[in-house]
């Protein structure tokens, strides 16, 4: 009888452990994609890096943006999808099209499914406001693709999924106070193989 009782308690603890830890990991992974500010394909949260972050945001930042700075110093916008809400896939070509941002310096970086830089022969992982090729209207287009392009080519991963981070260091005060006010670049799918 005692053995049966012990087995019941162990079973309850084990099932609870699987549900509790599993749901925590799932929420931490999912929270990154449903943060409070959404602009086109981009998501972010005003309390990234802040001491006021709640436990879910803090865990998410530890998972995908460890050592992120608070918003007075830097803003981080992440994109896991294109403008249509479809996940960024390596077999597709994308154009990231935008203009200047009110910040001292900004960059756009692509990552693989593990949140690390995408290996490529050119060691080209990002573009920033200084090394982009701009057009005469003060706009730019970055080509995210597995196939080399002549201008602003950001090599895509060979497999898995892709995500993009837009960093803006020392943002203008108006942008830091209203992170949804910037005209963020659009991520448009061109074609898929």
């Amino acid at each position: 009888m005692k053995a049966k009782r012990l087995f019941e308690i162990l079973a309850i603890v084990l099932i609870a452990l699987v549900i509790g830890v599993g749901s925590a990991v799932w929420v931490i992974d999912s929270f990154a994609k449903v943060q409070t500010i959404k602009d086109g394909a981009w998501t972010t949260h005003p309390l990234v890096g802040s001491v006021q972050a709640n436990m879910y945001l803090r865990a998410t930042i530890a998972r995908i943006a460890l050592f992120a700075l608070s918003r007075t110093e830097a803003l981080y916008y992440n994109a896991f999808t294109d403008e249509e809400g479809e996940p960024l896939r390596p077999e597709c070509d994308y154009i990231i099209e935008g203009g200047d941002l009110p910040a001292r310096w900004w960059s756009i970086t692509a990552y693989d499914k593990d949140h690390f830089l995408i290996p490529n022969a050119l060691n080209r992982y990002s573009y920033n406001m200084k090394n982009l090729r701009w057009d005469e209207q003060g706009r730019y287009k970055i080509y995210l693709s597995q196939t080399p392009k002549d201008l602003n080519w950001l090599p895509a991963a060979q497999q898995g999924t892709i995500s993009i981070t837009l960093r803006a260091y020392n943002p203008a005060q108006a942008l830091a106070e209203n992170m949804g006010s910037a005209e963020l670049p659009r991520i448009m799918k061109v074609r898929c193989e």
């Binding site: 019941e8 309850i12 603890v13 099932i15 609870a16 452990l17 549900i19 509790g20 830890v21 749901s23 925590a24 990991v25 929420v27 931490i28 890096g49 802040s50 001491v51 972050a53 436990m55 879910y56 803090r58 865990a59 930042i61 530890a62 998972r63 995908i64 943006a65 460890l66 050592f67 992120a68 700075l69 608070s70 007075t72 110093e73 001292r104 310096w105 960059s107 970086t109 990552y111 593990d114 949140h115 690390f116 830089l117 995408i118 290996p119 490529n120 060691n123 992982y125 990002s126 920033n128 200084k130 981070t165 960093r167 260091y169 020392n170």
Partner: protein
């Protein structure tokens, strides 16, 4: 029937507790895992390590910026405060501190530093200290954490020069003799 209801309720209550504990412990667990990785690489606390430029082979910290040079110091203030000294370049530079739960509780950049080299004394929570000079004093909410210096690479031709500046930074415990 009643007995099964109790079992289900107990399972759900325990699952909720495990859920909250996991989420709360996750950031600290990541910091502990990072310190283990550092120890595997022969790195110690209270020493500033200058990282080479980030590439696709850099797989310690997720989502690094390839446009920055990083220097990292995992600190332990339980025995003594830490003094951080760093030359500040004419490009974006920042020194930031992260508590053991990953909160960014302090950051200062090249436009805000009071002197060059920057001179910061990081002290533990609720401890008395002596400032050995005119260092700016910052109090960490936890005894352990991470100090991180970022230097922006504005031009590929400046990497050698910026790397030299990066390597002039240091962090070291301050003997208090109290």
């Amino acid at each position: 029937m009643k007995r099964w209801s109790y079992r289900i309720l107990a399972t759900l209550a325990l699952a909720a507790a495990f859920h909250v504990l996991t989420v709360m412990a996750f950031p600290r667990a990541i910091m502990v895992a990072l310190s283990w990785k550092g120890k595997d690489l022969g790195q110690s606390s209270n020493v500033l390590y200058h990282q080479p430029r980030v590439t696709a082979d850099s797989r310690v910290v997720v989502r690094p910026s390839p446009d920055l040079l990083y220097s990292v110091c995992a600190y332990d203030l339980s025995k003594a405060p830490l003094r951080i000294s760093a030359s500040v370049p004419d490009t974006y530079w920042s020194l930031s501190f992260f508590a053991s739960n990953t909160d960014n509780f302090f950051v200062i950049n090249d436009r805000e530093v009071q002197a060059n080299p920057a001179d910061i004394l990081l002290v533990g929570p609720a401890v008395s200290y002596k400032n050995p000079g005119n260092a700016q004093v910052v109090t960490s909410p936890s005894s352990r954490g991470v100090a991180l210096i970022r230097i922006l690479i504005t031009d590929e031709n400046r990497i050698e020069e910026l790397t030299k500046i990066q390597r002039q930074a240091s962090c070291s415990p301050v003997d208090q003799g109290l």
